[in-house]
């Protein structure tokens, strides 16, 4: 179980995450929604310590994650795998190497520099590539793949880390609707089949409703909603997205990706 207690992060005067307390059950698929700048990415980065908290505590199965240093911290990062909006693969390396890199935290520094991985690790890599339907592309350079394929490579790499939890920071925000659905389906099947806990930032309400069994709404660094998708009433949605009462809240507003809220006519709804 992942536990956050009064976690805050300030950048100068701005509280990007402000006193967030939260517990995530093992095996759940949690969606985090909110407007741009609400603090969703910062929240996820506080969990794997890509961002250091200003105050508060993150713990996992009783271990205080915020106190970890050096090797122990790197091991925790391996256990809390992360995937990104821009995939963050190494573009010049082939797909197989990109996936094998997920094992780096298990290797001593010097031998790992020579790009040598064990037969067991290669088998594991082929299995996770197969699971994401990517075996045909194993020897292709990562930057020659489509966005959806790259994100699936990133998921395959995450699986190599033998993670206890998967942090996904807007995994579908750069993808077209079909690729987005494909990536979300992959995450869902991994969650259902392996019981991997998933914490996923999403820009789009519809995706959150469709895939998550719990939704957390953030606004200005605070949690303003926490409940089942069915409990997400129009009033709650208004509060998350700061839409004043009486103004029309269309589903497309909340599907907008990095565009002003007032221009729904150019919004593209994603699957």
């Amino acid at each position: 179980m992942l536990l956050l207690e009064g976690v805050s992060r300030r950048f100068g005067n701005l509280a990007a995450v402000n006193g967030v307390s939260l517990s995530v059950e093992a095996g759940s698929f949690v969606g985090v929604i909110g407007r741009s700048g609400a603090g969703k990415s910062t929240l996820l980065r506080l969990i794997n310590r890509l961002v250091e908290p200003s105050e508060g505590r993150v713990s996992f199965h009783g271990t205080d994650v915020t106190a970890l240093q050096g090797r122990a911290l790197r091991q925790w990062r391996a256990r809390s795998a992360m995937i990104f909006q821009q995939f963050n693969l190494v573009p010049r390396l082939d797909v197989l190497t990109n996936v094998l890199i997920g094992r780096l935290s298990h290797h001593a520094t010097l031998p790992s520099l020579f790009n040598r991985f064990t037969a067991a690790e290669r088998t594991m890599a082929v299995e996770s590539l197969d699971r994401l339907d990517l075996t045909a592309h194993a020897f292709q350079r990562a930057d020659t793949l489509s966005g959806g394929q790259q994100q699936r490579v990133a998921i395959a790499r995450a699986l190599m880390q033998d993670p206890a939890i998967l942090l996904a920071d807007e995994p579908i925000a750069s993808l077209d609707p079909r690729n987005a659905a494909c990536v979300m389906d992959s995450l869902q099947s991994i969650n259902r089949e392996s019981g991997l806990t998933i914490l996923c930032n999403l820009h789009t309400l519809d995706a959150a409703r469709q895939y998550c069994d719990r939704i957390i709404g953030m606004a200005k660094g605070k949690i303003v909603f926490d409940g089942a998708p069915a409990a997400l009433t129009p009033a709650a949605t208004r509060q998350i997205y700061h839409v004043p009462d009486g103004e029309d809240l269309s589903e497309s507003i909340t599907s907008t990706i990095r565009r002003p809220v007032r221009q729904p006519e150019i919004a593209v709804a994603t699957a």
Binding site: L50, R77, A78, F84, N88, V90, L104, S105, S112, Q161
Partner: protein, 287 residues
């Protein structure tokens, strides 16, 4: 558009132009003053130039032997009588440059990671790396060569070390700057999966910068061949020793023969390296 908006725009546009013109005039003035100042201080006197120019031609004329068409082979053989020895020394010169480039670039490779703001593990590492490479490239390589000759004695070794040290400084800066222009997304990805700093450099940074580095190393090699050719002036190996002996002993024809050899070799290496670099860059542009 209301007229007032246009008027305001016109006014600020005129102001902007005035400011730009003032800057240009100021810049020109500064240039003229600096030019005149340095000419006076450096004793740059056109009269001296005019007076000395014919002597230049005379000197070159004296170094060229008489080569007759009907005795071409004999005359050339006479002119280049030292060819076997000079070729040996030329090879030594190239090898010196090669070794020094390898050593210096290896050092620069290491220092480049510490000396780039986005990758350095700690601010003090950044400053240390930057200052070290600054020092190594600002001290002239001949000065390093003199010091190393004093320490290790005459021969190619001090020359190699001197060029290597200078290359480390020069390429250290270039590499660090190349590192600062990389895409940081893979670095973040590696950090997030629990890789340590060295592993992150190896897998997220090196694949991105390798083509760039290769191009810089080839370029440095071109420069180093030229430098290695004059290392002999201070007794630090290579063809330069032979050249400086010829100059001092007034063996005029040797001077021209050796200079021709050096120019030919350096040009050949420049052309070769440039071809290689273009091939590298060209391939990069395609993929």
């Amino acid at each position: 558009m209301p007229d007032t908006t246009l008027a305001v725009f016109e006014r600020s546009y005129a102001e902007l132009r005035r400011a730009r013109r003032a800057r240009t005039v100021l810049g020109l003035l500064l240039f003229v003053v600096l030019f005149a100042g340095s000419a006076v201080i450096g004793n740059f006197n056109p009269a001296t130039l005019v007076e000395g120019a014919p002597k230049l031609g005379e000197y070159v004329g004296r170094t060229l032997p008489k080569v007759r068409w009907d005795h071409l082979i004999e005359d050339l053989a006479y002119w280049f009588y030292g060819l076997p020895k000079w070729l040996d020394l030329m090879v030594e010169t190239i090898l010196m440059a090669y070794l020094a480039t390898l050593l210096g670039s290896a050092g620069a490779f290491m220092i480049g990671f510490f000396g780039s703001r986005n990758l350095t593990p700690a601010t003090w590492c950044y400053h240390l790396a930057r200052r070290v490479s600054e020092f190594f490239r600002t001290v002239p390589d001949l000065v390093f060569a003199l010091i190393f000759v004093f320490a290790f004695g005459l021969g190619p070794l001090p020359g190699i070390l001197a060029i290597a040290v200078h290359s480390l400084g020069a390429n250290g800066k270039l590499f660090a700057e190349a590192n600062e222009n990389i895409d940081m997304a893979p670095v973040e990805g590696l950090r997030a999966l629990g890789a340590n700093w060295v592993q992150t450099m190896r897998f997220a940074v090196v694949p991105q910068i390798l083509p760039n580095y290769a191009s810089y190393v080839l370029w440095r090699f071109e420069i180093n061949v030229r430098t290695a050719a004059v290392m002999g002036f201070v007794g630090a190996g290579g063809i330069g020793m032979e050249l400086v002996t010829a100059v001092r002993s007034l063996y005029y024809e040797d001077i021209s023969a050796i200079l021709i050899l050096i120019v030919l070799t350096v040009s050949l290496i420049d052309i070769g390296c440039e071809k290689l670099r273009h091939a590298l860059i060209g391939r990069e542009a395609l993929t």
